[in-house]
């Protein structure tokens, strides 16, 4: 389940210049309290990339994600999601969003939770069931279809929420520290599974984390962010070969990239990064 033998379908694009699916220019966000959450952020992400936003608390990584998802509106700057502005993109259901907490509806079974977006979006009855079954199988939870969320562990619940985000087949996934609340072992397993999903589905993923190993292991590029004010410090490409395995973490390249990220964070005074 964890490790797929199938070769990756698609080579991730590391060249952001070619028709970006996400593009942000001079993006700034100042909250009503006066806090500058994000200042002058510029970012372009190509189709099929796996981008991590890393940085300490207050660096604006979640803010950036919420801006891209049109959950909040920027105070300055422009965003393009697949050629649309964020509101249009949201209304055309261009992305799936996975939160820190699983955010499952406790009155719905696991299966019904995966069907939720399909019901909201008025998918045909038969297609809803087929898709939900497929997505549950994809995250390996088909046996728990009839259970209620509280009967599942935290890691399983988060897998359900990933299946739910994938159910309506958006091209873009926003993931906001989805594994932050889980223990280390569960998290590493889920990281591997996420990579497999990414390879199998060809989605573009933007992933917020404050763990350097997680970012290095998952990403094609790492966006290093630093606080006060929140800004993009630098973008570090990760040219580790695909598919990545547990062994990837033991390689010299892995450590070298992790060191680069740590240096970049330190340069922006982002000392309080946790690992």
């Amino acid at each position: 389940m964890m490790q797929s033998d199938t070769p990756h379908i698609q080579t991730p694009q590391s060249n952001p210049k070619a028709s970006p699916i996400v593009s942000a220019q001079n993006l700034s966000m100042v909250f009503q309290t006066g806090t500058v959450a994000l200042k002058d952020a510029n970012l372009e992400i190509a189709q099929g990339e796996f981008i991590s936003l890393i940085g300490p608390s207050g660096c604006g990584k979640t803010t950036l994600l919420r801006l891209l998802a049109d959950l909040i509106k920027p105070t300055a700057g422009t965003i393009q999601i697949g050629g649309k502005n964020p509101e249009e993109a949201r209304k055309s259901r261009a992305y799936g969003y996975i939160f820190q907490a699983p955010t499952l509806m406790e009155w719905r079974t696991v299966f019904a939770n995966v069907m939720l977006p399909l019901e909201v979006m008025n998918f045909p009855q038969a297609e809803r069931k087929a898709r939900a079954e497929k997505m549950l199988a994809l995250v390996g939870l088909e046996k728990f279809a009839k259970n209620y969320p509280w009967q599942l562990s935290g890691g399983m619940q988060q897998r359900v929420s990933i299946a739910r985000a994938l159910a309506f087949d958006p091209q873009l996934l926003f993931m906001d520290e989805p594994f932050g609340a889980l223990d280390e072992i569960t998290r590493e397993n889920l990281n591997l599974e996420l990579l497999r999903l990414w390879r199998e589905t060809g989605k573009t993923i933007i992933f917020v984390t404050h763990s350097i190993p997680e970012a290095v292991f998952l990403s094609t590029r790492i966006v290093v962010m630093t606080p006060r004010p929140g800004k993009i410090e630098t973008v570090i490409p990760v040219n580790l070969p695909q598919p990545r395995t547990f062994d990837t973490r033991e390689t010299a390249e892995f450590f070298s990239i992790a060191t680069d990220v740590r240096e970049a964070l330190r340069k922006g005074h982002g000392y309080e990064v946790t690992e």
Binding site: A69, D70, L71, R90, K91, S92, R93, Y95, G96, Y97, F99, Q100, A101, T103, M105, E106, W107, R108, L116, P117, E119, V120, M121, Y148, W150
Partner: protein, 325 residues
């Protein structure tokens, strides 16, 4: 029950417990039978005997109750509670007879049961007026209005600021203060009591439903927004299901409030029938056997109603945290 060999200590314990219960009840019933048609007080020795029978049964019931600690069967598990009820009733019968308490003060349980049977037609008609016309109609009106208003208030913030504080204030108006005014305004027929019930049920439903509709996790709201769900869809898929347990809490409370409102309302004017009317008339005439019969009818209906709503709640909100094992 504990399965055990006839000679095992557990079996002997069980036998002792049941034996005490049987002997205790036998003593009490023997006295009642002997004193059935007496009109003098019992002797001190006989009163002592009642005490002994009572004590024996209490101790026996305690032992028996221990045998049922691990019983999960809903009916069998009720045995100790049923024994307790039976003990209270039988002891009351014996004591009331021993002390020759006049029926105008406290009627014996047997007399109450006989009366209940004798006047059942009238009590059922009374119950129809009190429960169906007054309590149920008022309850349905009050709770549906309550849910409707809560929906509006949760949708329009200005209503929340302008209206909700009053709901909290109004919900604490005691029914006895409200009832005479409403009976005077609406009249003595069942409608006035339905209005009383509707008002008392309305406010808790508004407050609870509003809480259920608004105490939604911000992440869930973000999720609905990410689905580009409109206001209506947000209610349908998130707010309403989230509110359901809250609504049921109010609806369960409402059954009790409705019965109280309907009965108490009749004390301030009634059109010649109803359980409250019957209780008031008969209490004034020392017809406490009828008063108790009416109370039994009201209680049985009240409990059944509550359990019906609780059953619906389990059916519809079985997922809720309160039902997890």
């Amino acid at each position: 029950m504990i399965k055990s060999q006839p000679t095992s200590p557990a079996f002997q314990k069980a036998l002792l417990g049941w034996g005490m219960v049987v002997v205790g009840f036998a003593v009490l019933l023997w006295f009642i039978a002997g004193w059935w048609n007496q009109s003098e007080q019992a002797t001190d020795a006989q009163k002592l005997l009642i005490g002994a029978g009572f004590l024996l049964t209490v101790l026996g019931t305690a032992r028996v109750a221990n045998l049922f600690v691990n019983t999960t069967h809903p009916v069998v598990g009720f045995t100790p509670a049923a024994l307790t009820l039976l003990l209270v009733v039988v002891t009351a019968e014996a004591l009331l007879r021993a002390y020759q308490v006049p029926p105008g003060l406290i009627p014996t349980p047997s007399r109450v049961v006989a009366t209940l049977f004798e006047v059942r037609d009238v009590l059922l008609r009374d119950a129809f007026q009190t429960v169906v016309l007054q309590a149920l109609v008022g309850y349905l009106i009050g709770s549906s209005l309550g849910v409707g208003v809560a929906l509006l208030v949760s949708r329009f913030v200005f209503l929340e600021r302008g209206l909700l504080p009053y709901a909290t204030v109004f919900s604490s108006i005691p029914i006895v203060a409200l009832a005479p005014v409403l009976v005077k305004m609406v009249g003595i027929d069942w409608q006035s009591k339905a209005v009383i019930v509707a008002i008392t049920v309305f406010f808790p439903v508004v407050i609870n439903t509003f809480r259920g509709l608004t105490e939604v996790s911000p992440l869930s709201l973000d999720l609905m927004r990410s689905y580009a769900a409109g206001e209506l869809q947000q209610y349908r898929w998130l707010r309403l299901p989230n509110a359901l347990p809250f609504v049921f809490n109010a609806l369960k409370l409402g059954t009790t409030l409705a019965m109280i409102g309907a009965i108490v309302g009749e004390f301030f004017g009634a059109n010649g029938q109803g359980l409250g009317f019957r209780i008031q008339i008969e209490a004034g005439r020392f017809g406490f056997d009828i008063v108790w019969s009416a109370i039994i009818v009201a209680s049985v209906i009240g409990i059944a109603w509550y359990n019906l709503v609780a059953w619906l709640e389990r059916r519809l909100t079985g997922w809720h945290v309160s039902y997890r094992e």
